[in-house]
Amino acid sequence: MADRNDAHSHDAQRKSPSASRRNFLQALAGAGAAISFSSRIANAQQGEIGYWAKDLSDAQLTNMFSTILKIRWYERTLVDKMLTDSNYRGYNHFYVGQEAVATGVCAALKNTGGVMEADLIYSTHRPSGHAIAKGTDIKKMAAEYDFRATGLNKGYAGEMHISDKSIGFMGADGMIGPGPVIATGSAFAIRARGSKQVVVNFGGDGTYATPHFHSAMNNAALLKLPFIYVIENNLYHQYAHYSWSCPMKDIAEAAGTYGVPGVVVDGQDVMQVYNAAKTAVERARAGQGPTLIEAKTYRYYNHWGAPGAKPGELGAFGYDPLAISSFRPEREVREWMTRDPVDICRNTLIGWKVIDATKATAMEAAIKQEVLDAVAWADKQPFCKPEDGLKNVFVEGSVAARQFG
């Protein structure tokens, strides 16, 4: 953080907002490269992807911060709920720590207009960040997480299967693998009908090992599909380090195999993510085919639920579910938390004079309240009717109850 503060306090940067932003970004890009990555891919791309965010309007930038905060507080509220409210039935694969990835990517997309117009995103078993960044209704989403009849998917989905077609959020997927293949199918349809939409697939580092990863990349490259694969490399697939399933340091290297650009970005920095996404989106819209983006990031909670977490505190510590795995040294969690996506975004916007500290704090308070209200609304929603379980198997009618003999 010290580097960044030094960078934006420099006199020259105070002269005009855009000059200030550019210099700041240069400093940031350099710092990012030095801190985290030294790979061929990252170095090759650094200059190219560094300069989109500065063109965004203040409103757009503020919106990004707002999205990051929404994801953060939605999740923190649910962590606390899981830990303290025994009536709460939802379970969660928390996204906290990775907010900048969903936010930066979705900021480069068109998020209105349904499947025929919006850009489409395919999510994972860890969907809340993607859904919020795409613009889903937090109230309805919270209700779905607790299986309420008025939830986003009427209580049929639960966390791992939420979807919201109206904004191009094609859905969470409880499976590791098939999602990206299906996403390329959407991209194929889009290209065939001559639409300018693009399709983004979010996948964890764990997806690298699946045959589906390779199938999606290969076919997207062969057919030059408007497809972007965003790997959120949070270092672990479930309880195993990604190096147990990927022999390379950077998963983005795989892109070379398919003749596709591979980009490594600092997933903690929303501007870096946005820049990479924007470049990929432009490419896809121009008919130049797919991109593989690997965002280096980290989740502050465990794979599933909130073991090791304490109410009101950020992150989970000291929990080794299997006592035999190499899962997450506590020091590693703390180290990543010093490069927090909320702080990085906040400091960038303050550094760019888009907002000041007072405004940032006020935004945080307002969003906290918005989320609390949404979860309180969800809490009051009706439960599902048991017999409705027989509905929605097909578009019409319901299937027979067979449990009574």
Partner: protein, 323 residues
């Protein structure tokens, strides 16, 4: 003899065989082969046999199934543990390769391999992709693979030992809902046949047939029905393929009433096969089957728990059949 959990019993059988056979291997992706039991040593195949023989891989169930198949063809016994989320990913590998290679090679190919398939379906709220039911039927339909589904820790140990020693591929369906079951299980290695059902209670009024995760409800209902004076013969299939037709037919010849119960989708559930086999051999019997509706499991517990067949459903159906 000691009280042991389901997975402890399974791993005890595997550990014994791996100690005897230095070539035997185990592949897993996220469920390490570890089990503990109060007062006994922890079984950890990964630390005991090392990473050359017990490998933790990336998320690719298709590869895992293919890997053990290839190992088997190359002359090594091999097992893989497929978690419930991936239980259908290797379907093609098992259906078109494991199931056909012996036949296609004129009897030459030997595949001493075991595919342990974790099955869920027990947990409300997991929803759609995470609480599937029907994989017992899918795998039981494949010629050339034996498909077994033990419902007790003692059977699980004996059937695992038999599965490993069997020169043919075995799909070992592990109903995750039985994870917490504990019972007396012998310490020594023993073999339980892979083609025999077991009669859990004898009776002359009604035959109830189930398997795997359905058995606890059947035993619960049977106890209540027996107390109410109904003489129930409860049969645990244990093996879906080959299916022990003889035990089923013998029972229904006596009771003339057959109720099947499955934690599986109604259409083509194991009970459908049971009824068909009995109907071919017994005249004048009455039949009823209980199963999960032909619907993906919805997330909300209200819907899911209402749809999931339970002991009360068995009791009500049994009374209707016998009255």
């Amino acid at each position: 003899m000691a009280r042991k959990s389901f997975m402890y019993s399974v791993l005890e059988a595997v550990q014994y065989e791996m100690r005897q056979d230095k070539n035997m291997i185990w592949i897993f992706e996220l469920t390490p082969p570890v089990a503990s039991n109060p007062g006994r040593p922890v079984i950890n195949l990964e630390t005991e046999f090392g990473r050359l023989r017990v490998a933790n891989t990336g998320i690719d169930e298709n590869w895992m199934a293919g890997c053990v198949l290839g190992a088997g063809l190359a002359g090594s016994k091999a097992l893989t543990y497929i978690p419930y989320q991936g239980a259908c990913m290797p379907f093609q590998m098992i259906q078109n390769h494991a199931g056909k290679l012996r036949s296609m090679t004129g009897g030459d190919a030997a595949m001493p391999v075991v595919f342990i398939m974790e099955m869920t379906g027990q947990t409300a709220g997991f929803a759609g992709q995470h609480s599937d039911y029907e994989i017992d039927t899918y795998y039981a339909h494949i010629p050339g693979v034996k498909t077994v589904i033990p419902s007790t820790p003692a059977d699980a140990k004996g059937m695992m030992a038999s599965a490993i020693r069997d020169p043919d591929p075995v799909v070992f369906l592990y109903a995750a809902g039985l994870r917490e079951l504990v019972e007396e299980v012998p310490d020594e290695q023993y073999l339980t046949p892979l083609n025999k059902a077991v009669v859990r209670t004898t009776g002359s009024d009604l035959t109830i047939v189930s398997s795997g995760a359905g058995m606890p409800d059947v035993l619960d209902a049977t106890e209540k029905l027996q107390k109410a004076g109904m003489k129930v013969e409860a049969i645990d299939l244990r093996c879906l393929k080959p299916m022990d037709t003889e035990t089923l037919v013998k029972s229904v010849q006596k009771t003339k009433r057959l109720l099947t119960f499955d934690q599986s989708y109604y259409t083509l559930c194991p009970g459908a096969e049971v009824i068909a086999r009995v109907a071919e051999n017994v005249d004048g019997a009455k039949y009823k089957r209980i199963a999960f509706p032909d619907a993906p499991p919805p997330a909300a517990p209200e819907m899911f728990n209402w749809m999931r067949p339970n002991a009360d459903h068995i009791i009500a159906a049994a009374k209707r059949l016998v009255s």
